[in-house]
């Protein structure tokens, strides 16, 4: 594919990101305003009164029409100012820059585990489809899908942190502080998150490979005397690579969402903790900021996936 076409894809995707961000943040903002509960009550404190709550609404501009509040937020965001938490006054950008690396590290590590474990398992199961190893792999994969990650997380903590004392039970260390410490803290949460991912990669890869390997084309390759290994690597895996990429892309997005629960289990101050706390207190600048950042990540990831599609299969371009 020409670099011109690649640039076109990038520009097109980035242009599409604008409306997606506006729509996503508008919907989230509307939801925050529609559901009962009010940040003014939180701001008014334990000794709230009706008059004080009304005063707070006025003081923080919460009595303005919904669309005016949203437009004010959007205008500031468009100028690079994500505002500050209504409650603690920490700038939202600072919160995100501190929390996102924790979340990204866990998700990246979990994704790496899902790929490095899931692909060999999927290949092994597809290569011996119907055999014992296939049954065993598929049983383990089904378990991986079925086991809730928070439960698995608690089991991992009990065994590796509390009983064996090999790994930390809670918390996170910033990469900038200690690379080793960051990975040690991220390992158990990533394992908890990866279980479902490994299962998904394995199952999807097996299904795609079995389909390809039983196709007339592969039969012909066998008849030509090509070794099974060569057929698997050159023809099997190459043909399913686009499917696999789609699965991995979707998996990343899902893992990003699943960190909300895993972060709570491991007391990781990541994006999940940030948005949960903000949503509970209806602290909308923080919620909006996190949604904005998440949408950006998902859009960029989809963009990267699209570009990789064209590399793996030039017909797509």
């Amino acid at each position: 594919m020409s670099s011109h076409r690649k640039s076109l894809i990038v520009v097109r995707r980035l242009l599409q990101a604008g409306p997606v961000i506006v729509l996503a943040t508008l919907i989230v903002f509307a939801l925050l305003k529609l559901v009962p509960g009010d940040v003014a009550v939180t701001l008014a404190g334990d000794n709230a009164s009706d008059a004080r709550i009304a005063e707070i609404r006025h003081l923080y501009g919460l009595d303005r029409p919904f669309i005016v509040q949203y437009a004010a937020w959007l205008w500031r965001a468009a100028h690079g100012d994500l505002s500050a938490s209504l409650i603690s006054r920490e700038p939202v950008l600072i919160s995100i820059l501190r929390c996102f690396p924790h979340t990204l590290l866990i998700v990246a590590l979990a994704l790496a585990m899902a790929i490095t474990v899931g692909i060999p398992l999927g290949v092994a199961a597809a290569a011996r489809a119907g055999a014992r190893i296939d049954g065993a792999v598929m049983t383990v994969a089904s378990l991986g899908v079925a086991v809730p990650n928070f439960w698995l997380g608690m089991l991992l903590v009990t065994l590796f942190a509390l009983d064996l004392n090999w790994l930390p039970a809670t918390g996170a260390v910033a990469l900038g502080e200690s690379v080793r410490g960051a990975f040690i803290h991220a390992f158990l949460p990533a394992c908890a998150l990866a279980a479902g991912g490994i299962a998904e990669v394995t199952r999807q890869l097996r299904a795609s490979l079995v389909e390809i390997l039983s196709s007339p084309q592969v039969r012909t390759l066998h008849m030509k005397g090509l070794s099974p290994a060569k057929i698997m690597w050159r023809h099997g895996l190459k043909n399913v690579s686009v499917n696999l990429l789609t699965v991995i892309g979707l998996l990343f997005n899902r893992m990003l969402a699943a960190t909300v629960v895993v972060e709570a289990v491991f007391a990781i101050p990541g994006m999940g903790s940030l948005i949960v706390n903000a949503a509970i207190h209806r602290d909308f600048p923080v919620v909006q900021g996190v949604v904005f950042a998440m949408v950006m990540v998902v859009v960029l990831l989809n963009l990267a996936t699209d570009i990789l599609y064209t590399v793996l299969d030039p017909r797509i371009a």
């Binding site: 559901v35 009962p36 509960g37 009010d38 009550v41 939180t42 701001l43 008014a44 404190g45 334990d46 000794n47 709230a48 009164s49 009706d50 004080r52 709550i53 005063e55 003081l59 938490s85 409650i87 603690s88 006054r89 920490e90 919160s95 501190r98 929390c99 608690m154 903590v157 942190a161 509390l162 004392n165 930390p168 039970a169 809670t170 918390g171 709570a264 289990v265 491991f266 007391a267 101050p269 903790s273 940030l274 706390n277 509970i280 207190h281 209806r282």
Partner: protein
Amino acid sequence: MMSSSFAAPSRRDLLFLVGTAGVTGMAGGRPAWAVEAAKGGGVLKVAAPANPSSLDPATGGSGADHTILWTLYDTLVEWDYATLKPKPGLARWSYPDAKTMVLDITEGVMFHDGTALDAAAVKFNLDRNREDARSNVKADLTSIAAIDITGPQQVTLHLKNPDTALPAILSDRAGMMASPTNLRALGTETNRRPVGAGPWKFVSWADNESVVVTRNDHYWRPRRPYLDGIEFAIIPEAATALRSVIAGEKQMAFSLPARLKPIIDRARQLQIIATPTLYCIQLYFNYARPPLSNVKIRQAINFAIDRAAFVKATMGGLGEVATMTLPSSHWAYDKSVSTLYPHDPAKARDLLDAAGFKNGIDISIGSYNDQDSVQRSEVLQAALGEAGIRLKFTRGTIAEISAQFFGAEKKFDMLLSAWTGRPDPSMTYALGFDQGAYYNAGRECAPELSQLIQQSRESEDLATRAAVFAKIQRFVMENALSAPIAFQYELDALAAMVRGYTPDLLGKPKFENVSFA
């Protein structure tokens, strides 16, 4: 202040500390000064259940802030840990007449930035607290008409009406003294750069992650604090907080739910603290409209609740049956009120019958969706069901359900929630039952009760005040304006090396006497 320390508690000990005498003087055969000297140093790592709403006491709003605020700010008035009786803090108070309060401020106290804590600083703080648009404690100080500096270390508060609740009020947010120099420099962005005169100085605060404080070497109390610093890690999930202590990563987790006690019991080398607090699990009623405008139905609900069974079933026994809004250890508790509502389903049915609901009654109720609240609601539903009171629950988040019940929507007839308690009982009754109070969902109040609440602030003598509170409690409970169910125990898990921690009746830990073994 009562000081108490644990003498190497054995594993799986459950320490009930209310009323325990302070352990001072000789310990282990060593003189007191040697014990004191040995206590210095170390950084305590604490799992805190919530991110602070603000580190400016005037602008914050969450009851969970205090544990962190007290490390940074000293208060004009303090209280006895076990009973909450007010006692001098940064200042001594006196009432030359009913409408004048004089505060004599301790000399030589400095804020962390070197500003002197004098009369001008106290006046600045109190004026800010009662006048600043961002202040959440304005309502606490409405009785003050004017504040005069009557000496370098003395301020005089001129009151609009007698208010003897002020000492207790000044032990709360309103009495936390912040550096005027710092506040002036910060303008309106005061939440994140606190400068007080407390035992520790502010180091950092990362939202939802940590708050770090370090020793104030110029603290005014001799030999305090013992700890070099405290690192609060914000861990909202209680089971995770406890795991961090069991794993040895933190040395303390506080405000744990009773369901975690068996896990603490199983853990090695942990101290367990379980003591009563003012935190009262209760049913709030909207009695401004039917059906709960009928006192017989409200009384029936009170008779139908099996409080002892509730404590056993939902709190593993770690609670105190609540027969009024104050626990039995409180200085204003009145025993005669405690016998008004024994568990009596038959009596409840009779009352319903008399109210015209022979076949029982359906009542809408709001409740929260966390694990503990759901369990409470189920136990309550079963108990009230026996008396023919059929509860129709709507569950949601605290913010959502509370706003629906207390706010303009006025949804549900009642709410299963809790009252976290206040340093002075008059605050509890004013905020929960007085005319127009936010936590009085119907906003209505009998003039007699309003008058009693006002009267409770007229005398300085605690016995006289207790007598007025007895009348208030009797009025509230005879009219069944709420249904108190149980006082939650403060449940804390501490590493064995932690010494000197004493819980308090507010259920909000202070660390001034804490040290390491």
